[in-house]
């Protein structure tokens, strides 16, 4: 790493003096190297990723453990910390059960959108006192990502691997449709126009002859046309369907006690979503979608060229390399509604975070590891391995030079945008998410209008939030 060390950690002057003295002492001691007398302090770390993301974390843990062993060799009275990684599926649920059962891991990786629910349940250790003692510099982080670990005035988690999403385009399909592959759509209206041009059908003529036509072909009955390529499908992959309102300037909550699902801008967004069901036909879309393979496979809708434009995350580059190496693709900020340039660069930006569970047996040791991981060089190593960008404001030049994703700067800029949104920090998110998922279902199937479906969500979730606030107040009163 050539960049100047500008991580989140700055030791206070007294500590620096002490470190200097220690270093001198080590220098003297190192004349007689020998094995540490102290047994290692083992801590367990629960990791959620397998594959390349997991391997990147392995490398970081190996470095940390090696550093600790080296430290113990220098200082025979120092008991080295040894981090043991355990990979757990559905960590967000199993962690909770482990905490409830009184035997949590010392440290765990989690998703930022579970922080609020965990904190409300009293499942996490407040990192605040340890952070201030360690001279933590909050301003070193991109504000949006730092906030993801903060809830009800306390810091419960530190972001390690952030993500953002953009519009990915298939350049070959753009060329085939007569569009300029270097000019992705800028406004939603352009996106819609491009999507129509990129939609292809196999039409059976009365003579029995088959030919390929593009556009939505409203005059051809469904029995005579078969969808073979879609320009854009709001439900593919559908991971951020809850958030379409944000792209139109809407939001899901206001403050900590108000649900705003039925905000007119959300309704506008979902009318737009429904327009795709109307244009393509519901049965047609369903059958077409059920032919898609798994996300992580060459049969993925975007990788196989069945859908020309998708909303996808920074990690997609890795899947392209792995499953569709020849794919010519581009990335751009997701379009905004025409006439609303203030909504440009809207993105969904969540992060992986590190948390210390309540009743962790070794909170101090766990925190030492957090401190290590969140220093700039280590975060860069981790995020490079996981093919993401780092949550810090400072980035070394080398990071961008060696990063394999050609659009990494774009994704980072999106993450820093004022229009970056994340899953609302509310303890009832799981419930809200399921309710919204159902509403999206109803809207895409044209069973309900967005107005009716979202108003229903609004009523139900306001009740749920009020209930949750009552419960919290009752708990706090105890």
């Amino acid at each position: 790493m050539t960049g100047r060390y500008t991580g989140a950690w700055r030791a206070p002057p007294a500590a620096r003096a002490l470190l200097g003295a220690l270093a001198l002492a080590f220098g003297l001691l190192s004349c007689s190297p020998s094995e540490s007398k102290q047994a290692p302090r083992r801590i367990t770390y629960w990791e959620k990723w397998t594959g390349f993301e997991g391997e990147a974390m392995d490398a970081v843990i190996d470095d940390f453990n090696a550093k600790e062993v080296a430290h113990a060799k220098q200082d025979l009275n120092y008991a080295p910390i040894e981090v043991e990684k355990v990979t757990i599926s559905n960590v967000e649920q199993k962690l909770l059960i482990a905490i409830a059962g009184g035997s949590p891991p010392d440290l765990a990786g989690n998703y930022s959108f579970y922080v609020a629910a965990y904190a409300d349940g009293g499942a996490l250790t407040d990192l605040g006192p340890m952070l201030s003692k360690a001279g933590f510099d909050r301003s070193a982080y991109i504000d949006h990502y730092m906030k993801l670990g903060e809830y009800r005035g306390k810091t419960w988690a530190l972001p390690i691997a952030p993500a953002s999403v953009a519009l990915l385009t298939n350049k070959r399909l753009f060329r085939e449709a007569g569009l300029d592959p270097e000019k992705p759509p800028v406004t939603i209206e352009e996106l819609d126009a491009y999507a129509a041009k990129l939609t292809k059908w196999e039409v059976t003529l009365p003579s029995g002859e088959k030919k390929v036509e593009s556009g939505y072909l409203p005059d051809v009955p469904a029995s005579q046309k078969r969808l073979i390529q879609a320009g854009f499908l709001p439900g593919e992959p559908g991971w951020w369907s809850y958030g379409w309102g944000y792209f139109f300037g809407g939001s899901l909550v206001a403050g900590q006690d108000q649900i705003t699902a039925a905000d007119p801008r959300n309704i506008q967004a979902f009318n737009w979503v429904a327009s795709y069901s109307k244009n393509l036909g519901i049965g047609v879309t369903k059958r077409f979608r059920s032919g898609f393979g798994n996300f992580a496979s060459p049969q993925n809708a975007f990788l196989s060229g069945k859908v020309a434009m998708v909303l996808q995350g920074v990690w997609m580059h890795n899947f392209i390399e792995k499953y569709a190496p020849g794919l010519q693709w581009g990335a751009a900020a997701f379009p905004y509604p025409a006439g609303h340039p203030e909504l440009a660069n809207t993105t969904s930006a969540d992060a992986d975070v590190l948390v210390i569970p309540k009743d962790s047996a070794h909170p101090q040791e766990a925190f030492e590891f957090i401190k290590y991981v969140t220093s700039q060089p280590v975060l860069e190593k981790l995020c490079l391995g996981q093919q993401k960008f780092t949550p810090l404001k400072n980035v070394s030049d080398e990071f961008f030079q060696v990063h394999p994703n050609p659009y990494i700067r774009l994704f980072r800029e999106l993450g820093m945008s004022k229009n970056a949104f994340s899953i609302p920090q509310t303890g009832i998110w799981n419930e809200y998410d399921r309710e919204l998922g159902n509403a999206v279902d109803l809207i895409q199937n044209l069973t309900e209008t967005p107005n009716v479906a979202l108003s229903d969500v609004q009523t139900k979730m306001q009740t749920a939030l009020d209930r949750s606030q009552r419960i919290l107040a009752r708990r706090n009163a105890k």
Partner: protein, 294 residues
Amino acid sequence: MSSLEATNRRNGLLFCLPWLIGLTVFLIFPLCAAFYYSLCDYSVLLPPVFIGFDNYVDLVKDPLFWKSLYNTAYYAAGSVLLGFVVSLTLALLLNSKVKGLGMYRTLFFLPSLMPVVAGSILWLWMYNGQSGIINTGLHHLGITGPAWLSDPAWAKPAIMLMAVWGAGNAMVIYLAGLQDVPTSLYEAALIDGAGFFQRLFNVTIPMISPVIYFNVVLSIIAGCQAFTQAFIMTGSSGAPERSTLFYVLNLYNVGFQDLRMGYASAMAWVLFIIILVLTFAATKLSKRWVTYDR
């Protein structure tokens, strides 16, 4: 009490003890604890707070509770009926004297050995709207199949149909019952000139009625507890449009995703009482038509 009686009593109790401990620790205690928690606000992570019957009151007002109850009743009724007809028919067919009987019996029993998770994933492929084997088959017959699991109207029937696949268990029990029917009764019926259906309804079914009763009660209980298939095939939200949000799935969401364990315990108790009432009703009704002749 003689010393022999005392020894016998002690030994008897000792032999019962493992079972008694199991029953108390793993059944009676959790049952009582769940009832207590159902009267509390309990997030698992914090100590429970007693709130009386609030959870039960909320339950009555919860549209998802009713929706999931309806879905479960629909599924249970359908799968009990369908399972009964299919497994009894299969048992009757496999009770006849045909060549390769052992092989047929094995073949029809085999699917029920498949773990539900593996079976669900297999059916997920079979129900694929575009390239699934079912729709491909239907296509050859000139029928455009539905999108099955992504169509709210078809998702529940699809899961119901899948349950039939596991009819092998009930079939084997029916088969055992059928083989217990004395041939003398059939001979007497034949001499009296009874046809196939007269023999079926006047000899076979009354004679195996205890087995039918047993199987029906078991499948009602299994139907009420439907979870795995929906959880794997359509996700925990019970998509599409909550048509596969079964009672236990809803309970799982509330308890393990939302951490409202008190509310989930109340749901569990309501389900327990529903199953208890259904079983009791089946037992009461069974007095009219179940014959125990031995």
